[in-house]
C-alpha cells in the first residue's frame, strides 16, 4: 500500500512547480558561491574544498531548508485545496501510509536536489578551472547533508500537516535554520534538527567536522526522525480532519 501511496503522491507532483524549484533554486547559491570563490581565490586554499565552503555557505544557510519546506508545503497544499483532505482521509489507506508516502516523496526529491547540487558544484568547479573531479569525500558530505535534509523533511511535513498556509512553513524553516547556526556555533549541532543539515554537509568547513562522530550523527538523525514521524502520526490519528 505504501508503494501505491508513493505512486499517487508522485502523480500529484505532475505539472507542479516543485520540479522548477528543484532545478532552478540551487542555481542561485551555486552562482553566488562560485562568484565568491573566483573573487577570493587568491586567499582561499584547498581548490575543490575551498569551492565547497563557498557553495555550502549560501546553500545551507538560505536555500536548502526552505527548498525542502517548498516540497513539503506543496505535498500538503494539494490536500488543503478545496476539501481534498476529506477525500484523502476517506480512502481505505492506513494513516501511516498517507504520511510515509508523502515523506518518501519529499525525501526522494531532497536527495535528488542534493545530487543536482553536487552536479552543479562539479560544473562550477570545472568552470573555475579546478583540476580533475571533486573528491569523493565531498559527494559523501553532500549525501550526508541529504540525510539531515530527510530529518528536516519529516519535521516540515509535520508542520505543513498542521499549518494550512503554504508560505508560513517556508518562512519558519528559514528562521529555524538560522537558529540551527546558533546551535552549530555552540557545538550542539547534533541536538537541534535544523543543524543536522549543515553538520552533515560540513558546510563552510575544510575538515570534516563530524569525523569520528558519524555514529552519533546517525543516531541523532534517527531519534529526531522517529520523533517527528511519531508526532505526525499521533496527530493524524487523534485530531479531527479539518478540510
Amino acid at each position: 500500500m505504501l508503494f501505491k501511496c508513493i505512486r499517487a503522491e508522485l502523480m500529484k507532483l505532475r505539472r507542479s512547480f516543485v520540479w522548477f524549484a528543484c532545478v532552478v533554486i540551487p542555481l542561485i547559491p551555486a552562482g553566488i558561491g562560485t562568484a565568491n570563490y573566483l573573487f577570493y581565490r587568491d586567499t582561499l586554499q584547498g581548490q575543490w574544498y575551498a569551492l565547497w565552503t563557498q557553495h555550502t555557505l549560501f546553500y545551507s544557510c538560505f536555500f536548502f531548508s526552505p527548498l525542502i519546506a517548498v516540497y513539503c508545503a506543496y505535498l500538503w497544499r494539494v490536500e488543503n485545496y478545496g476539501h481534498n483532505r476529506n477525500v484523502l482521509m476517506t480512502t481505505p489507506v492506513p494513516l501511516s501510509c498517507i504520511f510515509f508516502g508523502k515523506l518518501a516523496v519529499a525525501a526522494a526529491v531532497t536527495l535528488l536536489t542534493q545530487l543536482w547540487v553536487f552536479a552543479l558544484f562539479t560544473v562550477c568547479g570545472k568552470y573555475a578551472g579546478l583540476p580533475g573531479l571533486p573528491p569523493a569525500e565531498i559527494l559523501f558530505w553532500c549525501l550526508r547533508g541529504g540525510l539531515g535534509g530527510i530529518v528536516i523533511a519529516a519535521a516540515l511535513l509535520l508542520l505543513c500537516q498542521c499549518i494550512r498556509s503554504f508560505a508560513l512553513p517556508i518562512g519558519m524553516s528559514l528562521v529555524l535554520t538560522m537558529a540551527g547556526f546558533l546551535f552549530s556555533n555552540k557545538g550542539w549541532s547534533l541536538y537541534f534538527p535544523f543543524s543536522l543539515l549543515t553538520a552533515g554537509m560540513n558546510a563552510n568547513h575544510y575538515d570534516d567536522q563530524l569525523a569520528g562522530e558519524m555514529l552519533r550523527f546517525l543516531g541523532c538523525c534517527g531519534v529526531w526522525f522517529l520523533l517527528f514521524c511519531a508526532a505526525a502520526l499521533w496527530l493524524l490519528r487523534t485530531r479531527d480532519v479539518k478540510a
Binding site: 499517487a8 476539501h83 481534498n84 484523502l88 487523534t238 479531527d240 478540510a243
Partner: protein, 304 residues
Amino acid sequence: MKTAIETAALTKRYGAANAVDSLDMEVPEGSIYGFLGPNGAGKTTTMKLILGLVKPDKGTVEVGGVAVTAKNRLSVLRQTGSLIESPSYYGHLTGRENLQIISMLKDVPQSEIDEVLHTVRMENQQHKKVSHYSLGMKQRLGLACALLGRPKVLLLDEPTNGLDPAGIQEMRELIRSLPGKYEMTVLVSSHLLSEIEQMATYTGIINRGRMIFQGELEELRMHSQKHLLLRTQDNDSAERLLKERQVPCRNQAGALVLPELSDERTAGLIALLVREGVGILRLEEQQKNLEDIFLSLTGRQVSL
C-alpha cells in the same frame, strides 16, 4: 429491516454547542436516504462522524454492521464512497489522472475508471485539466471518484449545491439510478426539500443537531392533516352558526378554518348557512404540503 448505517446517541460538541445531539439514525439497506435540514443543522458533521473524519464525543456509529472506530477504520472505508463538502479535486491534473490517484489509493483496477466515467457521462472530458471543468463537471468527477471500488454505501453531502437547473436534474437522475445499478445504499443530504422529495425513498430531518423525523416520505406526508377553508360574505355570523352546531372553527385571515368533515355533514352545514342568509364565496379542502410540515417540525424556514 436491515440497516446500512446506524447511529446511536451520536453526539459531537464544538465548544458549548452540540453540532450533533444524541442522534439516532437508521438508514435502510438499498434505500436513498434523504438527509434533510436547514443550513447548520448538523448534516455535514453527521456524515463526517459516519466516515470517521471527526471523532464523536458520545454515541456509536455502525456502517454495514461494523462499528466505526480507529481500529475498524479501513474496513468501514472499504465499503463507503463519499463526496463531503464537495467539490474536491486536483485542479492541475486531468480528470482521468484524478481518478487514477483514487483508484490507486482504493486499490481497485484501472479498468473501473472507464466504467465510472461512463456512469457519470464524462468520457469526452477525461483528458482535460480539472481546473478547466465547469462546477457540474467537477461534481460529476467527485461522484465518479466516490463510485470507484463499487462501495456498498455512498454518502453525498449536498451534491447539487451551486449547480444550474440542468446540472441539478442530471445529478438527481444519476443518484436515483445508483441503487439499481450498483446495489448500493445512498445517503444524500440537502437543505432543499423539493430535491429530497424527488430523490429519496426514506428521509431523516435534522434540526439543531437532533433528529426530529425519520421514516418513509409517505409517513412524513401523513403528518399532514386535511382541513376545510370557508370564505363567506359574513364570516362572523357563519362562525357563530357553526359553533352553535358544535363545529370547531376559527377565523383566520378572512376565512374560516374547519376540521375535515364528512361530505354529508359539509353539505348540511353549507345548506344551513345559505338558509340563514350567509352567502358562500368559496369552500376548499386544504392539506399541508411537505414544506409546511417541515416548517412546523423545525420552526425554521427551509429553502425551496
